[in-house]
Amino acid sequence: MTNSRGSAGQLTAADARNEGSPDLNGNGSTADARDSQSPPPDTGATNGRDTAALADTSDTLLKRYPGQEQETQRICLRDSQFEEEQVVRLLLQELHDRGFTDTFNQLQRESGFTLENEPVSQFRNSVLAGEWSKVKDSLSTIGIQTPDNLNAALFLIKRQQFLELLEARQLKQALLVLQNELSTLTNDIQQLHRLSGLLMCPSVEDLRTAADWDGSSGRSRFVVLESLQTYISPGSMVPVHRMETLFGQALAYQCDACKYHVRPANQGLYIDHMCPTSVFPQELQFSLKGHQDEVWYVAFSPDGRYLASGSRDKTCIIWSMSDFSIVHRFNGHQNEVAYIAWSPNSKYIVSASSDRTLRLWDVEDGTQMQVFSGHEETVTSCKWLGTNDRFISGGLDHRIIIWDINGTIVKQISSPRVHDLAVSSDCSLLLVADEKTDIHAYDLTTLTFMYSLNEPVEVMSMALSADARYCITGLRNGELHMWDLDTRTLVRDFSGHTQGQYVIRCTFAGQDDRLVATGSEDGLLFVWNRNTGQLLARLRGHTKTINVCTWSDKAAALATSSDDKTICIWPAYRGAPSHRPDSTDDLSTSDDDDDESHADDKSMVSGAHSTTSIDMF
C-alpha cells in the first residue's frame, strides 16, 4: 500500500484507497519508529511488485548508512531532483538555528547525516569563543582548498584577534600580531596602514567607530564566521542561513516575473507572488486644479502625505493627499518654477526657477525661509544631499552649487550646463545631464569625474533608480533609454510616446522601481515594465502634454501634471483608504490665508476630465 522509491511515482487509485499509513503525518512515523523494531507489517494490500522493490530499497538503505541500525524502513514519498544529503543538512541547519534541538538530533539519527563534522563544529565553537590558537590549528582540518584562501582566512581571523586585543588594551600583544602575523598574510598595504592607525585610537569607542566593528561581545565573531564561509568549501560548512537565502532567491524570482509589480511581496511562501491587474494604477482618483498656468513639476513628499507642484504661474502649491485640498500656496518667485525637491524629513521644499534663484519653503508654517542667489542663469535642477540641511543645485550657467539651508554656498563647482541632476540615495554618486548629449557621473564624496555616457541627441530629463544601478534618460527625439550603471551600457529602449523640444520628465515607479513611466505630448501617461520593456498601460486623464510624472510608495499613487494646468492622481491599490470623491468633483478647497482672491479658480476652464480612459496591456 505504500509507495517505495523504486517504483514509479504515481499512486494508483487502489493504493490511495488502501493508503492508511500515517506517513503523511509526522507523529505517525515517529510512533512507528518507536514501536517497531522491524519494518511495519505488510498489510494484505501490498502488491507483489512492490515487495521486490521494497527489498531493493532496504538493501540500498543499509549500504547508505553503514553501521547504522536500521530501526525503521524509511520510505520516501516522492523523487526529488535535489540530493538528499543537501536537503537534509539544510533542514538540520534550519532546525538548529530555530532551536528545535530534539528534532535536530532525531533527524540526524534518522537520516544518518550530520550538519557538521567534528572538526568543523570545533572550529566554529573556537571562533565564537575567541580561542585563537585553537582556531589557527584547526584551520587546516576544515577543508580550505588553496593556500591563498588559507592566508585570506587566517588574515580575517588574525584581524579579529588584533581588534579584540586592542579592545582589551593589550597594545603590545596587538602590535605583535600586526607585525609578525598580519603583515605577512596580505599585500594590501592600505589595509595594513588602516589597521596600524587603529593602534592610535585613544578609547574603545573610537576604535569601534574607526574600525566599523562592534566589539568581541557583539556580532563581530559571527561576522568573521560568515566571511570565512567564502574560503571554506560549502560541503564541510553549510553557508549560514542557506535555506533562508534560497527562499529569498525564489521570492526575488517571483517578483521579477511579476508584470505589474506595484505591491511588495507579502503573500508568504505558500503561493507565488503576483500583483493582480486590479492593483495597477488605472483609475483617475482625483484631478487637482489650482494653478493658473502650465504645471511644470510635481513631487510627493517622502512620507506620502503631501504633493508639491511648481508651475509657469510662478507659484508652488502644496496639496494634502488625505483630502486633496490646497494646504499652501507659495508666492515669491519672479519667474516660472521648473523644479522642486522635498527634504528627507518632509518639512521643507526647495524650488528652482528661471528667475535664477532657489527658494526654501517651510511646509508646516507656509512661509518662505530663504532665498538662494548665486546662479547666473536658470536653475534647472536641485536635489537634497541625504540630510535636512544641504542640497545641490545645477543651472544653465555652468555651475553646480552645494548650499546650506541658511543660505550660504558650501561649494561651487564648474561644470557643463546642467539639464538635470540625479543623486544616489547614499549620496556617493552624482549624475549630470548636460546641455549637449552626455551624462557625466561624478563621485560626490570626492567631487571627481568618473565616466560619461553618450546619447545621440539632447537629454531632456533623467532619473536614477533607488539602488543607483539604473538610470533612464528621456531624449529630444522621443526615445527613452535605460542605462545599467554597473556596466555602463544601454540596456533598454522604451517607445510609444512622443517627445520633442519640450521637456517631458520620466520616472521610475512601482515596487522596487519595477516600472518606468513618462508623459507624452499626446496627453497620455505611458507605463512600462522595466525588466521586460513591455508597455503596460496608457492612461488618459489630461487634455494636453503631460510634463511630469512621479510615484510614491507611501502614497501608493502616480501623479501627473500637464500643460492643461491640472494634476492627476492615479492610486495603485483599488479601494484606497483615502477619501475618493467621484471624478466630476473637480475643485479643491483652499485653506490658505493668502490675500489674493482665488475666485478665478472656480471659473477656470482647464479641460474636460469626464473622459478618462486607460489602455491596459
Binding site: L175, L192, H398, L447, T448
Partner: protein, 159 residues
C-alpha cells in the same frame, strides 16, 4: 501660447548676438548673411539660423520688396519681438530669403567674448587623487613603538 518647459539654448562660440531685453543668445555673428535690411525700427540683419526663438502666426505682408508670407520672431525667454521670419516669397528674386530670419538691430546686442569654462576632461579624475606611495609599514610601526615607549631592539616577548 507656449506648450511646455523648454531649456534655454546657448551658443558656445563668440561673437554672438543676444536679446537686448534678457540677454538670451539669438544668433552667431557668422550666420549673418546681410546687414542691409530694413526693419520696422531701422537697420536689420538677415541671418541663417537662430536659437531661443518663438514664432508667431503666419501673415501675408506687403513689404518694400513685394508680397511675402512672414511670421513674427519673438525671444522665447522674454517674449520681445526681435524681427520676423520669411516663410514664403512670391517674387522669384526674393526666394533666397525663404526660411531665413530678420533681426532688428535695435533689439539685439553683440557679445564679443564668452566666459571660458572648464571642460569636462580637465576636471580631476578619481585616480589622480590616490596617494602616490605610502610609507613602509615598518617605519610607521617603529614610530609608534617609540611613542608608546618600546625601544628598538627590546624583545617584546619578554614583557
Amino acid at each position: 501660447q507656449t506648450m511646455g518647459f523648454v531649456f534655454q539654448q546657448f551658443i558656445d562660440a563668440a561673437p554672438i548676438y543676444a536679446c537686448v531685453e534678457c540677454r538670451a543668445h539669438i544668433a552667431r555673428r557668422d550666420s549673418i548673411i546681410s546687414r542691409t535690411f530694413q526693419g520696422r525700427h531701422g537697420r536689420a540683419y538677415l541671418t541663417e539660423a537662430v536659437v531661443n526663438e518663438r514664432l508667431g502666426k503666419d501673415e501675408d505682408r506687403l513689404l518694400m520688396t513685394g508680397l511675402h508670407t512672414v511670421c513674427d520672431l519673438y525671444c522665447r525667454c522674454c517674449d520681445t519681438v526681435l524681427g520676423w521670419k520669411y516663410v514664403r516669397a512670391y517674387d522669384k528674386s526674393q526666394r533666397y530669403k525663404e526660411g531665413r530670419y530678420v533681426l532688428e538691430q535695435s533689439q539685439i546686442f553683440a557679445i564679443e567674448q564668452l566666459q571660458s569654462h572648464i571642460s569636462i576632461s580637465s576636471l580631476p579624475t578619481r585616480t589622480s587623487l590616490l596617494v602616490a606611495s605610502p610609507p613602509s609599514l615598518d617605519r610607521v610601526l617603529s614610530r609608534f613603538m617609540r611613542d608608546i615607549g618600546i625601544h628598538p631592539g627590546e624583545s617584546m616577548l619578554s614583557r
